[in-house]
Symmetry: C2
Subunit: 611 residues, 2 copies
Amino acid sequence: MRKSIATVSLSGSLSQKLVAVAAAGFDGVEIFENDLLASPLAPEEVRARAADLGLAVEMFQPFRDFETDDADQLAANLRRAERKFAVMTRLGTDLLLVCSSVDPAAPADDARTAEQLRLLAERAAAHGIRIAYEALAWGRQVNTYDHAWRIVEKADHPALGTCLDSFHILSRGGDPAGIGQIPGEKIFFLQLADAPRTAMDVLQWSRHYRCFPGQGGFDVAGVVAAAVRAGYTGPLSLEVFNDVFRQADAARTAVDALRSLLVLEESAGLTSPPEPVVPTGFAFVELAAADPEPLRGLLTALGFVRTGRHRGGKPVELWEQGEARLLLNASALGVSSAPGEGPALVALGLESPSPEAAMRRAESLIAPVLPRRRRPEDVQLDAVAAPDGTELFFCATARPGLPDWRRDFTMAESWTKPGPAPLVTGIDHVALTQPWHRFDEASLFYPAVLGLRPGESLDLADPYGLFRSRAVADADGGLRIALNVAPGPGHEDGRPQHVALAVNDLGSVLRRLRASGVAMLPVPANYYEDLEARFVLPEAESAGLRELGVLYDRDEPGEFLHCYTATYGRLFFELVERRGGYRGYGAANAPVRLAAQHAGQLNGWSRTVID
Amino acid sequence: MRKSIATVSLSGSLSQKLVAVAAAGFDGVEIFENDLLASPLAPEEVRARAADLGLAVEMFQPFRDFETDDADQLAANLRRAERKFAVMTRLGTDLLLVCSSVDPAAPADDARTAEQLRLLAERAAAHGIRIAYEALAWGRQVNTYDHAWRIVEKADHPALGTCLDSFHILSRGGDPAGIGQIPGEKIFFLQLADAPRTAMDVLQWSRHYRCFPGQGGFDVAGVVAAAVRAGYTGPLSLEVFNDVFRQADAARTAVDALRSLLVLEESAGLTSPPEPVVPTGFAFVELAAADPEPLRGLLTALGFVRTGRHRGGKPVELWEQGEARLLLNASALGVSSAPGEGPALVALGLESPSPEAAMRRAESLIAPVLPRRRRPEDVQLDAVAAPDGTELFFCATARPGLPDWRRDFTMAESWTKPGPAPLVTGIDHVALTQPWHRFDEASLFYPAVLGLRPGESLDLADPYGLFRSRAVADADGGLRIALNVAPGPGHEDGRPQHVALAVNDLGSVLRRLRASGVAMLPVPANYYEDLEARFVLPEAESAGLRELGVLYDRDEPGEFLHCYTATYGRLFFELVERRGGYRGYGAANAPVRLAAQHAGQLNGWSRTVID
């Protein structure tokens, strides 16, 4: 179906918005009146600009508070409409959105509203213009789509139809099934927006918290499917008012927006893009550090062994232990050595049953494909950029019939092979702090592109603010990524990242680290007193946690023991022992961890640099 | 009454919070459990730290989900409570806040809840500890203060009382009158918070949007007055969860918090601080500019005349026209000449019927008093700093019996006196963009310290985000200040300011400016087409507006014509013609103005600097 977006969904001037919308690949736009009013471009110039960019002007919107019991006001409103018809003719669009009135003088009598809309449609038709009447969720008399449709039906004019809006329908708990009662040709337009499920005044919810389909909690696909079944053939058009998108880069937001429509078409059963190929685990995690020595020291203490270096001469080392594989990249491309920068996680190797099919899925959802300079003998590794810039490689480790990405690495003679009984058994999860204006994009990107399942969204308390956290994972827990975000701008410096390593016996790993002189993030004694108040733990176990500084959590199926290393630049490591089927990430302990990190008592990287 | 604050209301570590609370002048604190858990200080150390700072530990909080229909859980909860009693003894506090349970297993039977609380109180009493039972607004069974009190009454134990919380009472529309039914000695504690009036899920509202009394829409004073009438003698204690305060400087927030309690005591009729002395207008507006020449050019074109220079040799000039007086300060203290900085509004002279009494009021509300270096012969001018750093001088212009601040200025021989028929008649208003974390503070500061009336809070659309705007003004409109703010951090550079000059005939002023070659902010033609659609204006008037680039608004009593100069650093000027009793500020036109400013077509200051 044709894809469109309302200009109000993006930031910037009208010209900038049109360029961003066209560049992303949309077919058309709804011109939001305020964008036109603030533009130095005449309507004819906007029309020409859109045409040059290959964009149809699908609709002009909104025309507010038309219907009224006040006869003088009705005359004034018709006069106002005539002026807008003139603007629309110059703008090159034939469709005007009329929202149900919020005026106290809006007629309570449907027959009267229908009569007035019929009058408006007659006037519009004289200009070749059509009217799409929409029920605002907070309309004075008309606030449900079926009520708006009854009025349109009663008015019975060929230039009058209805506009459906998924937000207005679903925010009031409306059932989209009734859309089937509307003849398809009378659905003049379909506006789409999602929103997080929250109990909030519907006007505030609509003005500030809408998001693109798939980023919130509404069944937007159900609305689309119902409209298409009814015979709707117009565009799918996004209309999203959101405090974050208003501030973010328009070009980027437009791509995110188009991706949401592609996923929506698939969810509504209208298209069949390549299916997602869910990664089964981390093939590798790549860390970049201008000075890799402090990380080498830590990895060695943790029992990692350096097993290879890049054949092509790139300054990249492979470190392994159990199923955990880390690349240590000393070329540190794009990683400054300024304090707060330093070591960083730059790429994830995703273990894929079919890297090629995974890449086709990613491309079909316009994930940014990364160029890869390689020598002819290198293993072909395709990659896309995640919303926060992390590179995601689709690859295979020791899978029959697929090239092993480790062929690019060769073992140095002096280096050792990994031992048979690793302390670290694999990578439990990776946590990436997202830029504040990429969180919604990320929470659609990972499920849509990689087929990962989103978890619950949590608020975590930090001494200097709240963080939102949401995990995405495959069904078996082989690949888990925690996405964190601060609620607004101002926390962009050195967004923290961490790699959680899975161990079988956290106690022995910690005793080994202690013997190596590696300090771990301290846990306050008060934490253990509260822990013992909340849980009945065997005396020895409790004393062991306290002595080794281990954090503890429990859920229905199991237990979680974890602790943290010092911070290296933006990066730190967590050590994780999952017992039974514990499902979470120890979120209850995050405030204690964050407070200790803020206290800044332990910074492995800067200490090394300063010494 | 004693004044206290919950540590959760402030940012930082527990030690930092205690220091900030003591420095602001509070008498005590509620220790929020999570702050203790994350602290490396043992409870005894916290107790000693608080004692050294002169702070009482008024309460430990919260103890959650105590009452339950599950017998095993009840035993576990009593065990948990015993552990907390031990912590409290070490902490040196005898009061524990118990919130009504949100657990689905919370007893529906009041008798059972009372029996369990009585059991808890007996256990507590054995440690010399008392229990304050509070109804959370979202409690499962108990969610109103009168319900909590009925249970406390039924439990009938001397170590059990109730805790009242203004947020929990008022967010559910509770009537504080019922507080009179509770014996004062059974009100063990009184927690205070305000919140903006909004329809929102009460838990989200409470967690993110509470604010200090006087900054929201609740009648917090009514709750305080009712509790005091009932015989409550404990502390007034603030408990405010707020996403902004969590990120802002704790020392600053603590002062803002204490001010809110001082104002609250006055509103509740408990104290009589010096009354506010409402300023009647602007004595002057002081502009600082490292290079004042571009501003001199603009002021001259606007018809201002340079009437004096500072007697003490400071590089400050007085410019006058009608009742508008501007100081042009070339010493530019604290004003950098970097792009985006440059000229700025640094001080306001407030025309005060009694500068001395105004100062007493300000001091009583701990407004930061500014040191003033002056020579013995200078007029005494006292000043305080507004929340955004603007200096506010209390002064008198040509008032019998009071020294005129203009005595500090002397007229240069070559300069002229102002003409008899000024184009500019006075200062209509001043608009100051607040730092994002000072807006709540400012919206309490101006009404409390200066006695100005707050207006409605508006959301204005800018091409890159929404702005909140709220005006404060005296009853006669002689002094109006518009406070604007972006919704979060990230907009701190060059916060825009503007001075709106009142004129009698905007048309002649604009024609004069045009003749002088001064360009005004362009208004798009599309704006006028919409204006003519919205309003029926006489043809000549409409053409005049369009020709001169004037913005127009109308309300019940009158009309508003206005336009804007180029931007000089952070600063621009508005020219304003009010007709009839128009009450607003042309907010409907703000998006058009903001879009034109973003387009950056006109920057008087940098153009001059670059040329």
